[in-house]
């Protein structure tokens, strides 16, 4: 069951819905492209004209601050026009179907949907139903996938650890309900990590979790041995009311990451969290704000990775002969290191920046 829906006829990324089915070289291409955007944020002028004239709709059926903001910033830095639709409080609450919402927005000549939805498969559905020139980026669907979060985490890991092949990564917490976890596991396995370990009580692990390509531990102290990267997941409060866990304090006692427990991992282990963090529930403040934490780095990397994915997807969505829609910047010194898809940025070269 490969997901060809995501790729155009040339095998380029047209929709970004899930990590599953994407090759190592494509994931690497995303990371490399993101790298070229990464330095930009620190410049005074933070824009490139790659998506000038394009309209991107942030279609959020579920509330989100961080993800929506970074997508918005990413789009703005690519010079696209951005519309934020908070559907959680608009049309669908009036009974409009998902499809009708999409159809209506399509008629407004948009070029890309960035979708977050509470149900697994929503982004796939929209990608299947939408007009062929529109790209769909999954910003999180139900418990299924959150591929841009996974890629920004891969980007952060690569920045620090350089290579995936010797890495042992632990993902700790609510794997069952986590779209982030599923995408992280797929990305890490595709990029060739030595081991992906999930650590959680049985109530927070899906059935046949090993089939995702992970080893399993129910004990944080044992599970953290030899770990290079510690990924914490957010624990939703409603897990207590649905009898998955007895209490926050017991959870913290068993699975909360403290300085002491972190010592069990490798001394140079990094600590990650997709946010927003629950201090004192899944992670101690001393760890979250400590020297091994890269949590804020993840947030800033989110912009570069989302710029990369948006630029690549928009390029692939354009029909042959229309590729002039993406503006290349003359005088690009980095063209050789970028994918040959017509997306060019020039970190450090203000002269070409719009």
């Amino acid at each position: 069951m490969t997901d060809n829906l995501q790729l155009n006829a040339e095998g380029k990324l047209k929709h970004f819905l899930t990590i599953e089915g994407l090759s190592k070289s494509l994931l690497t291409e995303i990371l490399d492209t993101a790298e070229s955007f990464a330095g930009m944020s620190e410049h005074q002028v933070k824009k490139v004209p790659l998506l000038r004239g394009k309209t991107i709709v942030n279609l959020f059926f579920e509330n989100s601050t961080r993800t929506r903001t970074t997508f918005e910033l990413a789009a703005t830095r690519l010079s696209a026009d951005v519309i934020n639709m908070n559907i959680a409080t608009s049309a669908t609450s009036k009974g409009e179907s998902l499809l009708d919402t999409i159809r209506n927005l399509e008629s407004m000549f948009v070029d890309m949907f960035v979708v977050r939805h509470a149900l697994s498969g929503a982004a796939h559905f929209i990608a299947q139903q939408t007009a062929p020139h529109i790209s769909v980026i999954n910003a999180g669907d139900g418990q299924h996938a959150h591929p841009t979060q996974a890629m920004l985490d891969m980007f952060t890991i690569r920045q620090i650890k350089k290579d995936f092949s010797n890495l042992r990564v632990a993902i700790i917490g609510d794997i069952l309900h986590s779209r982030v976890a599923r995408s992280e596991i797929q990305a890490l396995n595709t990029l060739g990590a030595a081991e992906v370990r999930v650590i959680a009580p049985k109530t927070l692990l899906p059935a046949h979790v090993e089939s995702l390509g992970v080893t399993v531990s129910h004990n944080l102290t044992e599970g953290l041995k030899d770990i290079d990267v510690v990924m914490m997941l957010r624990l939703q409060k409603e897990r207590m009311s649905s009898a998955l866990l007895p209490s926050e304090s017991e959870y913290f006692k068993c699975f909360g990451l403290t300085e002491e427990k972190l010592k069990i991992a490798k001394p140079d282990a990094i600590v990650m969290h997709p946010g927003p963090i629950n201090r004192g529930v899944e992670i101690d403040s001393k760890v979250a704000d400590g020297p091994q934490s890269v949590i804020l780095k993840q947030v800033s990397n989110g912009i570069a990775v989302r710029m990369a994915v948006m630029a690549m997807a928009m390029q692939a969505a354009l029909a042959p002969g229309r590729s002039g829609g993406i503006h290349t910047v003359p005088g690009d010194r980095h063209a050789g290191s970028l994918p040959a898809n017509g997306i060019h940025t020039i970190p450090g070269d203000k002269s070409g920046v719009a």
Partner: protein
């Protein structure tokens, strides 16, 4: 009116017949098989050379929609599909809109059925009022109005005490309980089998235990109350084992399986394709093989279509929000024949599972070509290939994962009480 079917291979499992010959029909009833009755002069002759002549099919679980669901399908559209599928008798599950829980609704259904003309439609009455699982329905009145059984469709009965009482009451009036085992709480609003595929796609999932625990509880209550129970649409290995043990132990229970469960597994689901959204969910290869063995060994004695036609909108959405169910009357025969071709069951068994056996479950004098029985007959060409497309499809619901596929085996004639209700 006299009608003769010539040259067909007659397969009538109830009477142990499998031979080439003629079937004689007089005044809507089977007059004779093979031997020509004296003075028989056929008004109509059907040539069934190279075809199979068998009892009309009896479907234990069908939705025809209509009434509050007429946008999905109507009696009018679905009886044509049923006739084209060789179905001459079907059981309507009680989760219609309005629910079949009063004699008035039964009358309404009889009226709709009469207008549609055919096939024979039996209503299954609600076990509880509004299927809410809390108060008993007026089962005797429902029986007197014509309900052939009672059941709660896919709705839960609130607790075991209510189920016990409902079963005791049904037993008092010798009513059959049609029970689709599913523990509501363990089901946890899931939409896919709790296994590797649901885990990968992050789909809310339903464990086998949701079915097997409900099944085990109902088996215990069947013994306690003496209620006759037929278990519908089993989906997993351990259910087959449990029914096998219960039968061995002496309980008078029976079971069916929906045709698609014998062919599809969780692995066949294309990602998020709502055509595969069914309840109970498609499970594993192991479950599928056990269900097939259950059929071959008669632990499961019937195959049903579990026909659930939907409008397009019902299937357009993110997978978990789409409505479950397949439009499956018209794929019933070709998929049964595929089981035979794959040596899972014999042709005689396959036909029995669609006729003689469900007739026994419902205690009907049909499902066989016995002289004196209503002439409900299905004639099919087992080799005829056809494509599932809008040209050939009759049901208003096009929600089938087999859409576009070429299937083998097609009904050429269906007779209901001696009247030709379908001719290809």
């Amino acid at each position: 009116m006299m009608l003769r079917i010539d040259h067909g291979r007659i397969i009538d499992p109830a009477n142990g017949i499998d031979r080439v010959g003629s079937v004689y029909i007089e005044n809507g009833k089977i007059a004779s098989v093979t031997d020509e009755p004296t003075g028989f002069k056929a008004d109509t002759v059907i040539d069934a050379e190279n075809q199979i002549v068998c009892p009309g099919f009896i479907d234990l679980s069908t939705r025809l929609r209509d009434m509050g669901h007429s946008r999905k399908a109507t009696f009018k559209s679905e009886v044509i599909a049923a006739a084209a599928a060789g179905v001459t008798t079907l059981c309507l599950q009680p989760d219609t809109v309005p629910v079949i829980d009063t004699p008035a609704v039964v009358e309404l259904i009889k009226e709709l059925a009469e207008k549609a003309g055919y096939p024979q439609i039996y209503a299954v009455g609600g076990l509880t009022q509004k299927l809410e699982g809390t108060e008993l329905s007026s089962m005797l009145s429902l029986k007197q109005a014509g309900c052939i059984a009672v059941g709660n469709a896919n709705q839960p009965v609130k607790n075991l005490l209510i189920l016990r009482r409902a079963m005791e009451y049904a037993a008092s009036h010798d009513l059959l309980l049609m029970f689709r085992p599913n523990d509501f709480w363990l089901g946890n609003n899931g939409c896919a089998h709790e296994g590797a595929v649901a885990t990968r796609y992050g789909l809310p999932s339903i464990p086998e235990a949701a079915e097997t625990i409900a099944l085990a509880q109902c088996l215990e209550l069947a013994e306690l109350t003496g209620c006759r129970v037929h278990f519908g649409q089993l989906s997993c290995k351990r259910s087959v084992i449990k029914i096998h043990q219960a039968k061995k132990y002496g309980l008078k229970v029976s079971a069916d399986v929906a045709i698609h469960q014998l062919h599809l597994t969780e692995k066949d689901m294309t990602p998020f394709d709502s055509a595969y959204h069914v309840l109970p969910p498609l499970r594993t290869e192991d479950d599928k093989q056990y269900l097939r063995q259950g059929l071959a060994g008669s632990t499961i004695n019937s195959i049903c279509s579990d026909h659930q036609p939907h409008d397009l909108d019902a299937k357009l959405g993110a997978f978990p929000e789409t409505e479950p169910g397949m439009s499956s009357l018209e794929t019933l025969l070709p998929l049964m024949l595929k089981l035979v071709a794959q040596h899972a069951i014999t042709l005689e068994q396959g036909i029995a599972c669609l006729s003689a056996n469900p007739a026994r479950v419902l205690q009907l004098s049909s499902g066989a070509l016995t002289p004196g029985f209503s002439a409900d007959v299905c004639i099919f060409d087992p080799e005829l290939e056809w494509q599932v497309n809008s040209e050939n499809w009759k049901s208003q619901g096009v929600n089938t994962p087999f859409w576009g596929q070429t299937l083998k085996g097609r009904v050429t004639h269906t007779l209901q009480a001696g009247k030709i209700i379908h001719r290809l």
